[in-house]
């Protein structure tokens, strides 16, 4: 996994709440193997007409075709658990989404793919979106170690993030390797778990 440390990038404001993963990656593209094709898939049904021509959707044109950050409203990434929504953001070049809240599964998927889903209060997100609206193509900066976002006006916003999520993103850590250090503890737990629950497992189905 690509580590996430700091980022200064063009930020695109998205004012609509509840942008679901179906919009980020329309279902019919879930079968596409992970790779650069996902750049085109992001928001496909908003960006392209049925005949394949481009719409006016902002990600299609400069400066937002170079976006690295989305500043959104609440409940971004709600709905389906599809990780392809994160692949699409990532391949487009989005490394960070700032929103007042996220769909739970989406936020977890981001963290596993080096994408920072960070929460700021609703009014702060709205204020940054207004700045971006006034100055299309303006950049924001994110510093994960310091847990700060610097907005268009230079104002610094502090954000909260769970320690582990932060460390994994900073180091680009593979979760499975971390867990396998505990293989013995898991095996020990398992033994006790099944001893206490003799009705689980194949033998219990036989009698």
């Amino acid at each position: 996994m690509q580590p996430f440390t700091t980022l200064t990038a063009i930020a695109v404001p998205m004012h609509e709440a509840n942008i679901d993963t179906n919009q980020l990656c329309p279902t019919r593209f879930n079968k596409v193997p992970r790779g650069p094709k996902y750049r085109e898939i992001l928001f496909y049904d908003s960006r392209f007409r049925p005949d394949g021509t481009q719409t006016e959707f902002m990600l299609n044109a400069s400066p937002y075709d170079q976006s690295g950050v989305i500043v959104a409203d609440r409940n971004f990434g709600c709905g389906s658990s599809r990780e392809t929504a994160v692949y699409a953001l990532y391949e487009f070049g989005i490394r960070c989404v700032i929103a007042p809240s996220f769909g739970d599964i989406f936020a977890a998927n981001c963290a596993k793919n080096g994408l920072l889903a960070l929460t700021l209060p609703e009014e702060e997100c709205a204020a940054i979106r207004r700045q971006l609206q006034d100055k299309p193509g303006a950049k924001v900066s994110v510093d994960l170690a310091a847990q700060t976002v610097t907005d268009v006006a230079g104002k610094v916003h502090k954000f909260e993030i769970h320690e582990v999520r932060k460390r994994c993103l900073l180091e680009g850590l593979d979760d499975i390797a971390r867990t396998q250090q505990y293989a013995e503890r898991i095996a020990g737990f398992e033994k006790g778990y099944y001893k206490d629950r003799p009705w689980l497992g194949a033998a219990a189905r036989q009698s």
Partner: protein, 467 residues
């Protein structure tokens, strides 16, 4: 010991260890579908093994066609779709996980087959590579939807890192009115608390209304927890739960069954347990419901009218309503029952069970479909049961199309989808833009309401037909 909720009991019984403020949780059962190929591919790339293949179950449901299946996967016309089914089946065989493939006599949807098979039992931690995994909470399980990376993690380690969600109890009391079903209950709840009303919470449904529901109804409720943002939705097991599980393929037998019952009976929430949030809903206030907008919270009693954004003070909500009405091509103030339909879909992990088909058939007896109407059973087992009861004949006589099991037009990835601009009354779970096909418009309803819509050609109060 202080009183505990069922959620706390389930959490504690699967908790292996805490590291840096995260909990490593033991997973009993993991459910895969064709899209889980992304997880298998990640495992392959990292040269990792599946630790306990006997605890992983794979289903072909999202991509399978719902008609013309005689030739099996090889007969699927679209190469992209065909390969998803074939590749998943191959991967399942390669890693030795249990496969309910396209040719399996019990093939069906990943949230319908596992309870039918007795794979789902009270007290388990179930994860699935699908957001509607919360369905299995209906059995008193901790059941989470996860993405491909977390699924791969579970396959490699049989464990999952989690932070404990807060606990919410939704108490629903009273008797449901005539023509009102579990689907109406969950739509009414989501309309009340919003699509992010339960984000960060594990939801427990309780109260006399829930107790009176069948297992099928309870599954419908838990299934849609994610549509309120809750990753977990659960119901304490009771005698109805045990009666449902008993005797099924994977259920404990003989002495083990008695041991299981003793264990399961201790799961229910203790009197005096506390919750971070409590919500109540009066069953008597719930009417047959339909959505008018582009998320499941935009729902109203079918006797209502399309809301007028101009009357809404909050600018954010006003703009949400405007966007929704524009996409749905609806006029403010028009009656929901004046909304004309092009299609009707009955099926999905939300409403593709036998009780759902019985409810739809009861209404189908009263007329004939005036728009194309599909009935897609949730599994082969549901299909056999329905045919044994003659429901297929009722549907066919009413001009409904009786199809083979799968996710079909709920997720619209197997080739079943709406044409741009088409409007559908659907028993599925999401009315998101483009969900049932690019440009498609969805109105979520119960199975009885969907059948009523089919024979009238517009959204219809099912009580008018059944009275």
């Amino acid at each position: 010991m202080s009183p505990q909720s069922i959620f706390e009991k389930l959490w504690n019984s699967h908790h292996i260890l805490t590291d840096e403020g995260e909990s490593l949780m033991y997973v009993d059962v993991a459910l895969a579908q064709e899209n889980t190929l992304h997880a298998f591919t990640a495992l392959e790339k990292a040269k990792r093994k599946v630790l306990h293949p006997q605890q992983i179950y794979a289903f072909t449901d999202h991509y399978v066609p719902t008609t013309g299946r005689a030739k099996g996967p090889a007969g699927i016309p679209d190469a992209g779709i065909r390969n998803m089914v074939i590749d998943m089946q191959d991967m399942a065989k390669k890693y030795g996980v249990t496969l309910f493939g396209m040719a399996h006599r019990d093939q069906g949807i990943m949230h319908i087959v596992p309870p039918e098979q007795g794979i789902i039992q009270p007290g388990l931690f179930v994860i699935g590579n699908d957001s509607h995994t919360s369905t299995h909470g209906a059995f008193g399980c901790l059941a989470y939807g996860v993405g491909a990376s977390e699924f791969a993690h579970v396959m490699a380690t049989q464990a999952l890192w989690q932070r404990k969600p807060k606990a919410m109890r939704i108490t629903i009391d009273g008797k449901l009115g005539f023509g009102v079903s579990a689907k109406d209950v969950i739509l009414a709840l989501i309309a009340k608390i919003g699509v992010d009303g339960a984000t960060g919470y594990a939801m427990e449904y309780a109260g006399s209304t829930i107790a009176a529901l069948s297992m099928e109804g309870r599954m419908t409720i838990c299934n849609m927890s994610i549509e309120a943002g809750g990753r977990v939705g659960l119901i304490a097991p009771d005698d109805k739960t045990y009666a449902y599980v008993e005797g099924r393929q994977y259920a404990p037998k003989g002495k083990a069954w008695q041991q299981a019952l003793d264990g399961w009976r201790a799961l229910a929430t203790d009197a005096g347990a506390t919750f971070d949030k409590e919500v109540t809903l009066d069953a008597a206030s719930i009417a047959p419901t339909a959505t008018w907008g582009v998320n499941p919270s935009q729902a109203l009693p079918v006797t209502g009218v399309v809301p007028d954004p101009a009357g809404i003070k909050d600018p954010q909500q006003r703009s949400e309503y405007e966007t929704a009405l524009e996409y749905m091509a609806l006029r403010p103030g028009m009656g929901l029952q004046d909304i004309k339909l092009d299609r009707v879909f009955i099926g999905s992990c939300t409403n593709g069970r036998i009780e759902d088909l019985r409810a739809a058939a009861e209404v189908a007896k009263h007329g004939r479909a005036v728009v194309p109407t599909w009935v897609v059973p949730g599994s082969m087992s549901v299909m056999r049961q329905a045919e044994a009861e003659g429901l297929d004949k009722i549907f066919i006589k009413a001009g409904f199309e009786w199809r083979d099991p799968g996710c079909s037009m709920c997720t619209a990835i197997n080739g079943d989808y709406l044409q741009p601009g088409e409007r559908c009354a659907s028993t599925s779970n999401r009315n998101f833009r483009n969900r049932q096909g690019p440009g498609g418009r969805t109105h979520l309803v119960s199975p009885a309401m969907a059948a009523a819509a089919a024979i009238k050609g517009h959204l219809t109060d099912v009580r008018e037909i059944l009275k």
